[in-house]
């Protein structure tokens, strides 16, 4: 880094442009409105309902994803079986699916006229236009983010560590809890944060599958969309909150990843 040739200048310029472009819209959210006005705009019922609903539904989706996804990711990381790459591809598919397609798919599967629609109705479960439907949509779009990260994290755990646990008298469940999870902790928490971030920002699939009813299915992104033509400051205020939460999430990921308690060990 001592000699600064034209190439080094080019690299620095590229980074500067990238950074400016990515940061500018975020800064603009805060720069456009005085902080006092932002806080006032959050006072409306619609905004508070939306934030509260977003918090509830994303946490519920995250719990479902982690509880079911962690053992599934462990299986994918530690076993070889026929058709495994097919399974992995199927799990990753929602990552590249347009949100509108995800919404249609959910309707076709779980909607009133969908494949499981009548079965769900018989069981007394309503998803469409209900809060539960929001959770289903969030889980669908966010799960792959967690699964991918968790699988990679488990795969990176030295198999000898698990073997050592077994020879020390631990059954597979204990090896999973006491060794695999702590050793994959950094990757797992990253996956949780990514999935949570994705769920917080989810828009299209929720709108199509669950609708946009204040207090029931209108999450923060839907509320922003609903209010931006009528009440721009309120939309801006909600956006600012989401930026702050997302930034905090990102920061938490980086810090957790370094914590030795969560297995953030770069041996």
């Amino acid at each position: 880094m001592n000699r600064r040739g034209p190439f080094a200048v080019l690299l620095v310029a590229a980074l500067a442009v990238t950074l400016a472009f990515l940061i500018l819209p975020i800064v603009a959210i805060f720069a456009d409105t005085p902080p006092g006005d932002l806080i006032d705009s959050l006072g409306s019922d619609a905004s508070r309902d939306a934030l509260w609903l977003s918090l509830k539904t994303t946490l519920a989706a995250l719990i479902v994803i982690v509880v079911v996804g962690t053992p599934a990711a462990y299986l994918l990381a530690t076993r070889e079986f026929r058709g495994k790459s097919l399974v992995v591809t199927a799990i990753e598919l929602p990552l590249v699916l347009p949100p509108a397609v995800a919404g249609i798919g959910l309707l076709a599967a779980f909607g009133p006229k969908g494949i499981f629609g009548s079965a769900l109705a018989d069981a007394g479960i309503e998803l469409v236009l209900e809060t539960a439907g929001v959770i289903v949509a969030l889980t669908f779009v966010a799960a792959p983010f967690y699964l991918r990260q968790a699988q990679a994290a488990f795969a990176a755990v030295d198999p000898d560590l698990l073997a050592a646990a077994r020879t020390l008298g631990a059954g597979e469940p204990r090896a999973f809890w006491r060794v695999a999870i702590p050793c994959a902790g950094a990757g797992i928490s990253t996956g949780m944060a990514l999935a949570w971030g994705r769920a917080l920002g989810e828009f299209g699939a929720t709108l199509m599958f669950a609708g946009s009813f204040q207090g029931i299915t209108q999450t923060a992104p839907l509320a922003i969309f609903a209010s931006f033509s009528t009440d721009f400051p309120a939309a801006l205020a909600l956006s600012a909150v989401l930026v702050a939460v997302s930034a905090a999430l990102l920061l938490a990921v980086k810090l957790l990843g370094r914590s030795p308690l969560l297995g953030g060990v770069q041996a």
Partner: protein, 357 residues
């Protein structure tokens, strides 16, 4: 009451079939030696229950661990073996004592720390109890891993390349400690190494493995003196004599051999050592010849075996301890060597390696 290990199994590996039969008496150590990729580690994994063979059985005394025909296949946690992994496999998120305590599930929670620290102390690592593995040196890791493997008093001890992760100075000290541990072990032990000299120092019997099969087994001296094939001849490399070293003013080290006689080496050493000399460094002369060259080491010996391997001949010798020389078929004919014949062995001090024991 300790029982011996008996195992015979076949397992398909990527490039060849692993097929072998081995028995290890209690209180003895068998070394599996061979080049990397010969299937040595898989043997340990099969015995520990970490790899399921296609067929075969593993039993410790009367207790079957695996019997594919009878449908017995105990999971690793129910086979009673202490396993030292190649890179020690210490849990990175647990301190040294918690690593050891991981295997002490049967000990009441309140007593675990005390017990774990006591075992660590036995391996000279008591003061490391609170250190996380990433702060330990290679030698310290090995001690913690050994303490962890032995804390449960396993019925069988298995060591996978215990010295290969260490630098040569540390390896010598760790090898000494390992020899003490193995000598004290009541059950059978299996050591995997690619280094014949390590095997000769630590094990009672050696099985040479290549491409999944035991191609020859016996004591280190037997293998070295009577290699069954050119592969074993090349692989066995140095013959090892045991003795006690002391430094001299001239800078050479004099080693008093355990079976009588003295040799000199240019390696510095003190105390109990193994003297390693390659068979092809040894010159044989008829008895009664006067010293005439630069070789400092001259020991009288008797021929015990003559094994021709291609154009070479391995001459097994007894010079207080077993020793091996390698000469050409031409020299063999000229010297008229046969079992019982006396010779003088000579080699240079600079061709004499000393390994701590």
């Amino acid at each position: 009451m300790s029982s011996g290990l008996e195992a015979r199994f076949a397992a398909g590996l990527r490039e060849f079939e692993l097929e072998l039969e081995l028995a290890v008496e209690p209180g003895t150590c068998l070394a599996l030696v061979g080049p990397s990729g010969a299937g040595k580690s898989t043997v340990l994994r099969v015995i520990a229950g970490l790899h399921r063979p296609d067929s075969g059985s593993v039993a410790l005394g009367e207790r079957p661990w695996l019997d594919r025909e009878r449908g017995v296949d105990l999971p690793p946690e129910r086979r009673d073996c202490g396993y030292l992994f190649q890179d020690y496999a210490l849990f990175p998120h647990l301190s040294a004592w918690r690593n050891v305590a991981f295997g002490l599930k049967e000990v009441p929670r309140r007593e675990r720390r005390e017990r774990a620290t006591a075992v660590l102390s036995r391996f000279g690592a008591g003061e490391l109890a609170d250190a996380p593995p990433r702060e330990l040196s290679g030698g310290e890791r090995q001690r913690v891993a050994l303490a962890r493997a032995l804390a449960r008093d396993p019925a069988l001890l298995m060591l996978d390349e215990p010295l290969s992760a260490l630098d040569s100075t540390t390896a010598a000290a760790a090898g000494r400690e390992l020899a003490t541990t193995l000598a004290a072990a009541e059950g059978p032990a299996i050591l995997v190494t690619h280094d014949f000299a390590d095997a000769a120092l630590l094990a009672d019997r050696i099985a040479v493995i290549d491409r999944g099969r035991v191609i020859q087994s016996g004591s280190a001296a037997e293998l070295s003196a009577q290699p069954g094939s050119a592969f074993v001849a090349d692989f066995t490399g140095a013959a090892v004599l045991f003795g006690t070293a002391r430094a001299t003013a001239s800078g050479t080290t004099v080693v008093a051999l355990d079976g009588g006689g003295e040799v000199r080496s240019s390696d510095p050493a003190e105390g109990k050592v193994g003297v390693a000399v390659y068979p092809w460094e040894i010159t044989l002369e008829p008895p009664g010849t006067e010293a005439h060259g630069s070789a400092l080491n001259r020991i009288e010996a008797r021929v015990t075996s003559v094994t021709e391997v291609g154009s070479r001949a391995r001459i097994g010798l007894l010079a207080g301890q077993p020793l091996v020389a390698e000469i050409t078929g031409e020299s063999l004919a000229r010297l008229g060597l046969a079992p019982g014949v006396g010779v003088v062995t000579t080699w240079k001090a600079t061709a004499t390696r000393l390994v701590a024991r």
